[in-house]
């Protein structure tokens, strides 16, 4: 697995021992099977994560109490080669309703052999999350916003 970063994007790639069709379907249909558990904005545990496999669909978490959190919009869906979805989560770990302030994730699947697929992921336009930083920093919500965010950060470090 490799990781690269530029100023406003982060890129990752991984090679899996599986045909491209399976690699694509597990990434999309099976998104909930590998998404890190901490990725949860609901107040309760997640019962399932649904990846709606069409442009205009959402990726959403459904909590054990039936509550839902739609945190991504599917922008491109081209099996088995490519999928693009938005990242509608603010740095304060809340749903971003201003779409100009959302980033996007593109995932490409490349068949290296009949049973081997390279998956390249780019999470880009991270600077779009930016304009909120200043107001958050100066506002009363700053402390809470940062604390919530840092809690997740610290969990990662401890994991």
């Amino acid at each position: 697995m490799s990781t690269q970063a530029s100023d406003t994007a982060t890129r990752h790639s991984i090679v899996v021992e599986a045909p491209i069709e399976r690699a694509f379907s597990v990434f999309t249909d099976g998104f909930g099977t590998f998404k890190p558990r901490e990725h949860n904005m609901l107040q309760v545990d997640i019962a399932e994560t649904v990846f709606e496999t069409h442009v205009g669909g959402n990726i959403y978490d459904r909590g054990v109490d039936g509550s839902e959190c739609r945190w991504a919009r599917v922008l491109a869906f081209e099996p088995p080669d490519r999928v693009v979805f938005s990242w509608d989560i603010s740095p304060q770990w809340q749903i971003e309703t201003d779409l100009d302030k959302t980033s996007e994730v593109e995932v490409r699947f490349i068949a290296e052999a009949p049973n081997r697929t390279r998956v390249e992921l780019e999470h880009r336009n991270l600077d779009r999350h930016g304009p909120g930083w200043e107001s958050e920093r100066d506002g009363v919500a700053a402390d809470q916003g940062w604390s919530l965010y840092l809690d997740r950060f610290a969990e990662r470090v401890a994991a």
Partner: protein, 106 residues
């Protein structure tokens, strides 16, 4: 993993540094203020700030005779550090899931 992301994660892994960082998230502060608010000596605060600065999580500027620290106004570095970690973990788990399914279907 790029060095400064790793530095950012490591820098915030220390509870004292995290406390300093959170204090700076409220508003910019000088070294002496931080030392007064936290159960940490002034030289220790300076040392922690140095690490945070090297990880590019905070920036400083002189104000009169004091040096005032604040969170890197971009904040982008922190977000990217988080997302880097997130995708690393997600893709590792994805690889396990996809290869397990491939095996089961054989």
């Amino acid at each position: 993993m790029p060095t400064y992301e790793a530095n950012g994660l490591a820098a915030l892994g220390d509870p004292t540094r995290r406390a300093i960082f959170e204090h700076l998230a409220e508003r910019p502060r000088a070294v002496g203020e931080l030392a007064g608010e936290l159960p940490v000596s002034r030289p220790a605060v300076s040392q922690h700030l140095k690490v945070l600065k090297e990880a590019r999580l905070v920036v400083d500027q002189p104000v009169g005779t004091r040096r005032v620290y604040q969170i890197d106004p971009e904040g982008l570095r922190l977000l990217r550090g988080y997302l880097d970690h997130f995708w690393d973990q997600a893709l590792a788990a994805y690889k396990t899931a996809v290869e397990q399914q491939a095996k089961e279907s054989e």
